[in-house]
């Protein structure tokens, strides 16, 4: 069969299979980024807080999850989580293996790792806010909560966009490791397709190309977001009035 037939969307082609897998990759990564944003914001807040205990917790989190291989975290969550679930099942009177859903386990694992990197991005972004602007917010009588909502969060998001683009790209590639849980995302799909057809070269190249398309599209999205967020900073938009 010719390459274009193998890649087609027809009954004998693997095209649709690969496209669905690419969407799964996107979905895992997006879910992971969201989980990581929540974890990252909490950890960044802990690292910036006045409490020594919270700072230590934040430091341990970022050290551990940036320092341990991603694959290990995925195994830990997937198999660790599954054996925990099985134990709970046995206690409730069900004796069989209960597996954690691979999508949830994968997104959680990549999300936890992404959170460690996002925490550093948020922390750096917080430090990029000019101190005087925070003082001006205090001086005008803003409560802590109001300062956070009106001054800190909008500026942290603005300064964090380039860093978040980086983390997104890392997470997109980390999501390939989730294939070890059996989730048919782009990596696993390329493996299945190439194994079934013995066209290893073809399908791994196509898989790689699909990854590149995903990363360059998301690059564009982040660049646009960065430009929009920095409108207030660039001198090229002078005019106002």
């Amino acid at each position: 069969m010719a390459a274009w037939e193998l890649l087609g969307l027809g009954a004998k082609g693997w095209g649709a299979f690969l496209l669905v897998a690419a969407v799964t990759t996107l979905a895992v990564t997006a879910t992971a980024l969201a989980i990581g944003a929540v974890a990252g914001a909490a950890i960044a807040a802990a690292k910036l807080s006045g409490s020594v205990i919270l700072r230590v917790i934040g430091h341990v989190y970022t050290t551990v999850f940036r320092g341990v291989p991603e694959l290990l975290i995925i195994y830990l969550i997937y198999f660790g989580g599954s054996s925990g679930l099985t134990a709970v099942g046995a206690w409730l009177g069900y004796d069989g293996f209960l597996g954690l859903p691979s999508f949830a386990a994968g997104a959680l694992a990549v999300g936890i790792i992404s959170g460690a990197y996002q925490a550093e991005v948020f922390r750096g972004a917080f430090h990029a806010i000019p101190r005087g602007e925070l003082e001006a917010a205090m001086a005008i009588g803003m409560s802590r909560r109001l300062r956070l909502r009106r001054i800190i969060v909008p500026q942290v998001l603005r300064f964090a966009i380039p860093g978040l683009g980086n983390v997104w790209q890392l997470s997109l590639k980390d999501s390939a490791l989730v294939s070890v849980t059996g989730l048919v995302e782009l990596m696993r799909a390329s493996q299945i397709a190439s194994g079934s057809t013995r066209q290893y070269f073809l399908f791994y190249i196509v898989g790689g190309a699909l990854y590149l398309i995903l990363t360059s599209l998301s690059d564009r999205v982040f660049n646009t977001a960065e430009r929009r967020a920095n409108r207030s900073m660039s001198a090229s938009t002078i005019g106002g009035a």
Binding site: E133, E135, A136, A139, I140, G141, L146, R150, R231, G240
Partner: protein
């Protein structure tokens, strides 16, 4: 209301570690007073101003704003405010103008000016905008209301910062070296706005190096040296025969102001 004490500071002290920057400062501002605080750098004058609205926490002493004392607790770790809410409220009654302008860079000039009234005082938006546009016209930058701070000159930014502080209808305006970061040709436009404010009867405390402002606009001059008030009085006396030797030496560095 002349005769009403807007601001009263009693025996204010501040230490950074073992270094005592303020060694007991007392000062009163009646309604309509314009007080210039002068002193060499390191004399503690900016720290004094920042202690009034608790941007720095005083180590001791009392601050009264419009008859209400900022309640402080004195514990083992030093002094701290008794109520955050009270501090926030008192800050909203004190307008602060910084040396570095400190406009919020992610907001337009108009958004900067309505931010406080809208979110701190919770006034209706239409009212906030009307007040803001009036103030921006008054400080002469109405045409810049939709520009971002980064697109304005330093003098324009400082005038916007004054408008932002005035929008809160403060009882007292605190100026922390408002013209020190400006190019010489931009100083005049900011001083003109401040002078107009003084003439309207705004109560002002101005930390400055502008001798002409101290001499011609303020009704009282306070000279700080090494964390204490060296001398104070009417500008005619301070710049005239009544000057203390230290003040005489200090103003000697500035030449003879007009």
């Amino acid at each position: 209301m002349p005769g009403v004490t807007r601001l009263s500071v009693r025996n204010l002290r501040k230490s950074f570690g073992t270094h005592e920057v303020l060694k007991g400062i007392s000062m009163d501002a009646q309604d309509g007073d314009v007080i210039s605080v002068l002193g060499a750098s390191g004399s503690g004058k900016s720290t004094f101003l920042r202690c009034i609205n608790l941007l720095e926490t005083p180590s001791g002493g009392e601050v009264w704003v419009d008859g209400k004392q900022i309640r402080m607790l004195n514990g083992r770790g030093g002094s701290r405010p008794a109520s955050r809410a009270q501090v926030d409220h008192i800050r909203s009654e004190l307008g602060m103008v910084f040396q570095g302008f400190n406009l919020w860079s992610h907001m337009t000039i108009l958004q900067n000016v309505i931010e406080g009234p809208l979110h701190v005082l919770k006034r209706p938006k239409a009212e906030c905008i009307a007040v803001a546009e009036e103030l921006l016209a008054k400080v002469g930058i109405a045409d810049k209301r939709h520009a971002y701070p980064a697109h304005l000159s330093g003098g324009q930014q400082q005038r916007a910062a004054i408008a932002r502080a005035l929008a809160m209808k403060p009882k007292v305006m605190l100026f922390d070296e408002p013209t020190s970061a400006l190019d010489p040709e931009l100083v005049g436009e900011v001083l003109r706005v401040m002078r107009a404010l003084a003439e309207e009867g705004m109560t002002m405390l101005v930390v400055t190096h502008e001798m002409s402002f101290a001499r011609n606009v303020s009704n009282r001059v306070v000279f700080m040296r090494d964390g204490i008030v060296d001398s104070s009085g009417a500008p005619e006396d301070m710049f005239g025969a009544g000057a203390s030797p230290a003040f005489r030496q200090f103003i000697g560095h500035f030449g003879n102001p007009q």
